[in-house]
Symmetry: C2
Subunit: 440 residues, 2 copies
């Protein structure tokens, strides 16, 4: 394969070779009679062999699917567009800090080297998403540069403190650029660690990098910065596409959101809750009246400690109770179970759970159904679990329950206090019970 | 509390006590001017204190929410309705076997004792759901009487053989009554254990018992028996409500279905697939053309063995790779990971996974997103996992992947054969890859 056509293969590679064009060439592509002009850029990821990608003069990348009518022609060689003029910082706009932790949204592929580089200086961001300069004056900080699957509770602590520092310096809101894999967990962690927030904290990611055709990065970033600058609430939320198309951004509560698709742009869903708001254009439209109001004079309380010796176990047929025993001898301080249905595990687990109870290890019950609410009072199994000290956690997501237990154990090791914290609604993680018995 | 008003409490208890009525009394209730007559029955579950429940002459139970206008009056004492006349077995109808394993659908509350009893003799079923006698001639077998959270792979083996025996005797289809908690797992297990099915096998459950107001048991049973008797396909499917209302029943493929709500009647969803059919009234309407046709002459192959030393681990921030090491020293034969996003775990897990690879222990990757498809070729983490022998499992549900690996290990312990089985689509568990890059 030609080194100059890095990333291309199959049909697309042959098409480009036949036309004698290389990556970085200025090309004109015509398809269905319409011309597109730009620089041919490398495929940055494992993609198909049917698309070529060009960077338009506007800075946007366009994927073009090859068809029998598609033609390509070189109109210039090794031409690099000069950077667009830097937008002037507009006076009077709200100040927003963007803290980057890594992930697809914080990176772009250098189309000369093919390597992935962080793109989060303010001027780089403005270059990629020029609309941002109309919304806020942006300061950026690159805190980590890691895949989000490598985030640990220790990173949450550092991140919480970094956000707090920006808030103390008086920004209108903070945006956290994050890989999508564990963004839901981090959103929950910040929801507990940052209490009495005066301004919003908005996590944002992208399912497709800004160098990929149909990237969702720009709309998500605009939505996140808009929310940080202008939202009427002061909570930890997560900004991602509402639908697969580039229409609007949902703001999900940090404790109620999870990634529910591996690749769709609208992968994140609020579970057992509605999104708190929607960002359309540069308008933040609240979808509920029940939220903590923005109040810059409120005093932020930071509780950044998390205990790592907490496990999340998903129960299944054939589940081995010795796994629970192993956690107990290994000094685990807490266990969240993902039970079946209303919150059940097999009777074979009872003795291990009794053992946890005797040792004073907190065991909380959630449901692998994800939607709905655990209830240990309906069936015998549930009552047997209650008798062994298992604590039902309402409609909390299993992931949120795990994070909350790590955080609660960071505040206290006293079992009774722990139980009280876990049962108290702190950041909308437990919805009020609504009865839905609609008979006569 | 009066023993005669077992299960009632609060407002409902006071209401009944004021009126001097007891459980088993024949009562007339008027609400909003409308009269309802029936036997007052005990609340069978932990319910609210706002409803009373009566059994109507038709055999159906009705929950009545108390309002200021509700009145109740005793019109007879300790009266037990005589059983409705037994329906005659209609000649010429297809034969259907109902194998009961336990669970809400297979039980009803005895309204004299308050105890739960199985209700699965054919005549009991006809009494509860008289429509069944118009659809099929039913034979029943009570195989187990357990909560579904107590089902193990050993139960799956026994169940597969029991179903096979009915099929060999020439029934038009088999219905399996099952608790909903692990019904999805059992559906997957039967999908692999019963190969070359000549007739359909239909799992069915209920979210609310037939003695509860707004039970879903009757419609689900009618849907399941209709499908077993008449569906044009011969696959393992699961019959449950399509929507919360009593409209129609979806038939989900056994490998693609999971319980996605703790309590809703439409709790079961097909994930990464459409339901195979819908049952409306007594019509089975296929929703796809791609299915294995019913063919009573086809020879069933039973492969009922499952290996229990298989674990399902859900990855999360703070996940302890020592858990993987513990499985390896404990002689586990296979591990299914529920990774983040496209199928990732942290780099801290790499060495434990390398260890599994060296020991020849199969490790398969699924996604905790549930929807979508793993892809280990997009990011470095994925490629690092491939290098350590982790096998991506397409769009298979984590639960189905676990069951399939237990089953595959029941067929062979040879790593290469195992890898081949896990990557081969056997019962629609892996959907064909569909590209969805829609740009220009």
């Amino acid at each position: 394969m030609s080194k100059e056509l890095s990333g291309y293969r199959g049909e697309a590679l042959e098409f480009l070779q036949r036309a004698g064009v290389n990556v970085e060439d200025l090309v004109r592509v015509t398809k269905d009679g319409k011309p597109y002009e730009g620089i041919l850029i490398p495929r940055s990821e494992y993609g198909d062999d049917k698309h070529i990608v060009i960077k338009l003069r506007t800075g946007y990348n366009l994927g073009i699917r090859l068809s029998p009518t598609t033609k390509i022609q070189k109109v210039g060689e090794k031409l690099i567009f000069t950077k667009p003029p830097q937008p002037k910082t507009k006076l009077g706009l709200p100040k927003v800090a963007i803290v980057s932790t890594g992930g697809t949204i914080a990176s772009r592929v250098d189309y000369r080297t093919g390597g992935v580089t962080p793109a989060l200086s303010a001027s780089d961001l403005y270059a990629v998403v020029p609309e941002l300069s109309d919304i806020a004056v942006i300061k950026t900080e690159i805190l980590f540069s890691i895949f989000s699957e490598d985030m640990t509770p220790k990173h949450w602590s550092v991140l919480a403190k970094a956000i707090a520092a920006h808030i103390t310096r008086g920004v209108a809101g903070v945006v956290v650029a994050h890989g999508t894999d564990t963004m839901g967990y981090t959103a929950a962690a910040l929801s507990f660690a940052l209490q009495d927030l005066p301004v919003p904290v908005v996590l944002v990611g992208a399912q497709r990098s800004s160098d990929r055709p149909s990237s969702d990065a720009a709309l998500n970033l605009i939505g996140a910065v808009t929310a940080a600058a202008n939202a009427p609430f002061a909570e930890v939320v997560l900004a991602m596409h509402k639908t697969p198309s580039d229409e609007s951004v949902f703001l999900h509560r940090g404790t109620k959101v999870r990634k529910c698709h591996t690749s769709r742009r609208d992968a994140f869903k609020s579970v057992n809750a509605q999104p708190i708001a929607e960002v359309k254009g540069q308008k933040v439209i609240p979808l509920t009246e029940d939220y903590r109001r923005r109040d810059p004079s409120r005093k932020l309380i930071v509780k950044p400690d998390f205990e790592e010796k907490v496990a999340l176990l998903k129960f299944h047929p054939g589940f081995d109770p010795k796994l629970v025993e192993w956690l107990l001898v290994s000094g685990y301080k807490g266990i969240i179970l993902e039970g079946t249905g209303l919150g059940h595990v097999s009777d074979q687990c009872f003795s291990a759970l009794k053992h946890a109870q005797d040792l004073g290890v907190f065991v909380g019950m959630t449901s692998q159904c994800l939607w709905g609410r655990v209830n240990l009072n309906v069936y015998d199994t549930g009552r047997d679990l209650l008798a062994r000290g298992v604590v039902p956690l309402g409609d909390m997501l299993p992931e949120t329950a795990l994070v909350k237990l790590m955080w609660a154990l960071g505040q206290t090791k006293d079992y009774d206090k722990l139980k009280k914290i876990m049962g108290t609604n702190i950041a909308y993680e437990i919805s009020p019970r609504t009865l839905s018995l609609g008979d006569v």
